[in-house]
């Protein structure tokens, strides 16, 4: 490992500040959510703070690694990830009928979360070591599809529709990021379309229900449609200035479910109104664009692709969650980065942030002489 003053010079303070600012807003929002939950145990916002510290430590570790090493171990890492995913089916702890967690005694974690990053590393490596004349052609799509498809299916079987979808979108975006030949693109789209019935059949009943209810929430207002309807009410009733911090009735009176996780954004929207949501959205947008700026300045192809992939991870997660909360997508259980409560999500996101910073820090290594 190298330690060079220039590493610190190229550390992007703005980026980390944006991340911390968003995390701070998240904790503030969770403070409001915590006040509605009366119970023993540490309040959620404090737990989130602890996870924040954990995330920061992981971030620090990641900063010290030369990401080039990652490229070297990309494929072995990928295999490990797959094994861990398979391990979920064998050694898992079933929660609510789903098997997503690996219990390792001291702590448990979701392999699917970390798989997202590993997968992006592997895919980036694959693309980086190829040269595409006019963009990716038919043949070129095979490997990416398989690289994406394997974890996609494994995660889908857990079942975790949301994370599978997330991973699929990231893979798709990364592939499309490079030029794809239009005929191959056509094939790709039809392939995706063709796979939908298969995906539908593999879905569990409740997941199918969720999609049906998404299309028509009024159909089951106290059952599956409840979340969507209450979320929209929460968001909409905030109007311009919001109801005020800690004064959101949908959340306080428990009409809105999953306030700390999936619907944290709804709580925020209800309390801070349009003014608040624009601010939050603006911060996210700024974060994304700033991250792209960092990543785009790297001269290393692998780094650029990896960086783009990591940005996609953060972007799609935020986008899916907000769409879900606003009733534009079925409820799929994806938390909002930095804002929703969730250790795995937070840690994974901070690792991604760390890697992005990492890329930024080491760009000087590829200066043209």
């Amino acid at each position: 490992m190298m330690f060079d003053r220039r590493l610190i010079e190229n550390f992007d303070w703005i980026f980390i500040s944006l991340v911390l600012l968003l995390s701070g807003l998240g904790i503030l929002n969770l403070y409001s959510v915590s006040s509605t939950v009366s119970g023993e145990g540490t309040p959620v916002y404090i737990k989130q703070f602890y996870w924040l510290l954990v995330g920061l430590s992981f971030l620090l570790v990641v900063l010290l690694i030369d990401y080039v090493q990652l490229e070297k171990f990309a494929y072995p890492l990928y295999i490990t990830g797959i094994i861990l995913l398979l391990g979920v089916f064998v050694f898992s702890r079933t929660i609510a009928g789903t098997r997503r967690w690996l219990d390792l005694g001291l702590f448990s974690f979701q392999p699917s979360e970390v798989m997202k990053i590993i997968f992006v590393i592997a895919l980036s490596k694959y693309f980086a070591t190829r040269k595409y004349e006019e963009g990716i052609g038919f043949k070129g799509l095979v490997a990416p599809l398989m690289l994406t498809g394997l974890p996609f299916l494994l995660i889908l079987r857990q079942p975790d529709l949301g994370t599978a979808l997330h991973l699929g979108l990231v893979g798709l975006s990364l592939t499309l990021f490079l030029k794809v030949r239009w005929d191959a693109l056509l094939l790709l789209s039809s392939g995706v379309a063709a796979s939908l019935p298969f995906v539908w059949s593999v879905l569990k009943v409740y997941q199918k229900q969720r999609i049906m209810t998404f299309l028509n929430p009024a159909r089951d207002p106290y059952g599956a449609g409840y979340h969507i309807i209450q979320s929209k009410i929460a968001v909409g009733s905030g109007q311009f200035w919001g109801k005020g911090f800690m004064k959101g009735t949908q959340s306080r009176l428990k009409f809105l479910p999953e306030q700390h996780s999936d619907f944290a954004f709804s709580v925020f929207a209800e309390e801070w109104g349009f003014a608040g949501t624009m601010l939050l959205l603006g911060l996210f947008l700024l974060l994304i664009i700033w991250g792209l700026r960092i990543v785009s300045r790297s001269k290393d192809k692998f780094a650029s692709l990896l960086g783009a992939g990591l940005i996609f991870i953060i972007f799609w997660q935020a986008f899916i969650n907000i769409c879900m909360v606003l009733g534009l997508m079925p409820v799929v259980g994806i938390p909002l980065p930095f804002i929703s409560y969730g250790g795995s999500s937070l840690v994974t996101t901070y690792i991604a942030v760390g890697l992005i910073l990492n890329i930024g820090m080491r760009r000087f290594m590829f200066q043209q002489d």
């Binding site: 080039v68 009410i233 929460a234 009176l253 959205l281 947008l285 192809k301 606003l326 590829f366």
Partner: protein
């Protein structure tokens, strides 16, 4: 230090473009989200705000307390009492099964009752009370309260329920309550009522429903998603119903009810100076308390199918042949038409020939020489047959109607019937037949097509003896609010001076006094000490003579064949303060059955007056007004 890596600089440059596109794409996608938020928060914001308010607030009813019904002296006839309902709250019960068993045993519930009571437990949220038994009786209430510590988790709630203070007293006048029907709910009159509300369904409870009911209040409460009430946001208290002060006198009503006893029939008692109804009785009666919890189908069927129709208010809707009491009208008609004078006489030998028929007088041996006064005092039929032969039926009808017969009195009970005054035109319409002169003879003595209600007869007597003033009888004296402040006074409704000569009225009145006071008067059973009473007996035939001839004695006849007994009375003679009519169904002669009933009422009335006078004198004495 540079790492020796293949920079792929051209491709990196190419990627730079891609990054630019990517930034644009992200920007557009975020813009898309912003538009969505604009739509939800700004455009649909108000409607979502409305929905979130609807979520969190509920409107709860607060029922008003119903107005009381009081007698003319302010004594409570109908009140509201607290009813105690027993509920349980599951979340306060630690061991539900054992609690259930203990409570079932304690209340003495049968397994079926227990099952029904606890059935709701499974589907009700733990914090919501489950009704186990409504309207606990006193003993259960007391035992539960004293053993409360054994039953944590019970909740005893209180609500108002109607209490009829005097069982079966004035049941037809007061009426009863029942649940509002879906059809009624649609009516604009019942705006503000809800399903399950109790409204007056009969009697004054129904007639004055709007006054008695009051207006419900409401409170807006904040609820959590579970439905649990958190706090009261706003509250509008209910306005209690207004009280009705009736013209009825509780003491007199009681005496009248008792005097008639189990005999089917009716009594109407009026103040002839004002038309106020002092007592109104109809027998058989029914128990209003049966309706409080919602009458059971068995009890309802028993009431409706009872051949004696206990739900019918005979005082205003019982239409009977008047019998001899109609002779009052006949006498006035004869005088008014100039057909007789007080001196005109006729010889009664027990029969009167008309056409090819003999019409019998009730006294087979005849009354001898009879003038108008004697005809009334001894109720001679022959005297009146002669009048009947000579009078025009439509002219007789004129006098009947002038005295208030043939139309409803307007006392304010919707089931009142008008009775019947026969005329030529009426018979044409009804039977498509012309009037036969011979029919006059039945009508003139109160048989035939005549129909009257007891209230009509009481008013008729009142009008004759008060100098000819026709009043609309009233049951309600005033309406006052729950604090006692008067809201509306119902003054006596004077309908007009009847077009009969006061001299004739005085004549007839004098004769009626003799009916009671003279030794041969048919109404002598109503005589009182110290008060001069006047009146008239009547016996209304129920079936034709031919059928009853086979029975030697009227008492031998089967019940349905027996005549109805009428008696009308007034007192004191000079300036009457009370006028009444009594009919006892299937009871035989008016003089022997109905007159004693009237006597009891008159006695009670004057007793009451005396007591009131004494009480007043003593308070004035105490106040130093009289020394």
């Amino acid at each position: 230090m540079t790492i020796n890596r293949n920079p792929f600089s051209e491709e990196s440059e190419g990627l730079k473009d891609r990054f630019a596109y990517l930034i644009l794409l992200f920007f557009l996608l975020f813009l898309f989200l912003m538009f969505r938020l604009w739509y939800l928060q700004i455009i649909k914001g108000p409607s979502y705000r409305n929905m979130s308010d609807n979520n969190r607030t509920r409107i709860q009813d607060i029922l008003p307390s119903r107005g009381l019904i009081l007698d003319r002296k302010g004594r409570i006839l109908v009140d509201n009492y607290p009813a105690y309902d027993l509920s349980i709250v599951r979340e306060d019960i630690s061991d539900f099964e054992s609690f259930r068993q203990k409570l079932t045993a304690f209340l003495g519930l049968s397994p079926a009752e227990a099952k029904a009571a606890f059935a709701a437990a499974k589907v009700t949220p733990a914090f919501k009370p489950i009704l186990i038994q409504s309207d606990l009786d006193q003993s259960d209430l007391v035992s539960l309260e004293t053993h409360r510590f054994e039953f944590p988790g019970i909740l005893i709630q209180v609500r108002p329920r109607r209490k009829y203070m005097y069982e079966m007293l004035a049941s037809h006048v007061i009426g009863y309550l029942g649940e509002i029907s879906p059809e009624q709910l649609k009516h604009p009159k019942y705006e503000g009522y809800r399903m399950g509300d109790l409204i007056g369904r009969y009697g004054l409870e129904a007639e004055h429903e709007i006054n008695l009911n009051g207006r419900r209040g409401w409170r807006q409460v904040e609820v959590a998603a579970s439905g649990r009430v958190l706090r009261v946001i706003k509250q509008v208290p209910p306005s209690p119903g207004n009280d009705l002060v009736l013209t009825l006198d509780l003491d007199l009503q009681r005496v009248a009810e008792e005097a008639l006893g189990d005999t089917a029939g009716a009594i109407a008692v009026l103040d002839p100076r004002t038309g106020e109804v002092l007592a109104l009785v109809s027998k058989p009666s029914y128990n209003q308390e049966d309706f409080i919890k919602g009458i059971s189908p068995e009890k309802w069927a028993a009431l409706v199918n009872n051949p004696k129709h206990p739900l019918q208010n005979r005082a205003v809707s019982g239409q009977y042949m008047p019998g001899s009491i109609f002779k009052i009208v006949s006498a006035l008609a004869a005088l008014g038409e100039g057909l007789v004078t007080p001196e005109t006489t006729i010889f009664c030998n027990g029969g009167y020939k008309f056409g090819n028929r003999i019409f019998h007088c009730w006294k087979r041996s005849g009354h001898g020489i009879v003038n108008l006064e004697k005809a009334l005092v001894e109720s001679c039929d022959v005297y009146f047959y002669d009048i009947g032969r000579r009078i025009n039926i439509d002219r007789l009808a004129y006098y009947s109607k002038a005295l208030g017969l043939g139309t409803v009195t307007g006392v304010g009970l919707r089931n009142e019937k008008p009775g019947l005054v026969p005329t030529v035109e009426w018979k044409k319409k009804r039977f498509n037949q012309p009037w036969m002169q011979g029919e006059n003879l039945s009508v003139i003595i109160g048989q035939g097509f005549n129909l009257v209600t007891p209230l009509q007869m009481a008013r008729l007597v009142a009008t004759v003896v008060n100098g000819g003033k026709l009043f609309e009888p009233s049951l309600v004296s005033r309406i006052q609010d729950s604090q006692g402040k008067v809201i509306k006074i119902f003054s006596p409704k004077f309908l007009g001076q009847i077009p009969l000569s006061p001299k004739h009225l005085e004549l007839v009145k004098k004769a009626l006094v003799k009916v009671v006071q003279s030794p041969r008067g048919t109404g002598r059973a109503a005589r009182l000490d110290g008060i001069i009473v006047g009146g008239k007996t009547g016996t209304a035939q129920v079936v034709s003579e031919s059928r009853t001839d086979e029975y030697k004695d009227s008492d031998d006849r089967p019940y349905e064949y027996r005549d109805h007994a009428w008696f009308v009375a007034f007192a004191p003679a000079e300036n009457p303060r009370i006028a009444l009519a009594v009919i006892a169904e299937h009871s035989g002669h008016g003089g022997s059955v109905a007159a004693p009933v009237a006597k009891k009422i008159l006695e009670a009335f004057f007793e009451g007056e005396k007591l009131e006078l004494n009480a007043k004198a003593s308070t004035e004495k105490k106040a130093g007004v009289i020394q």
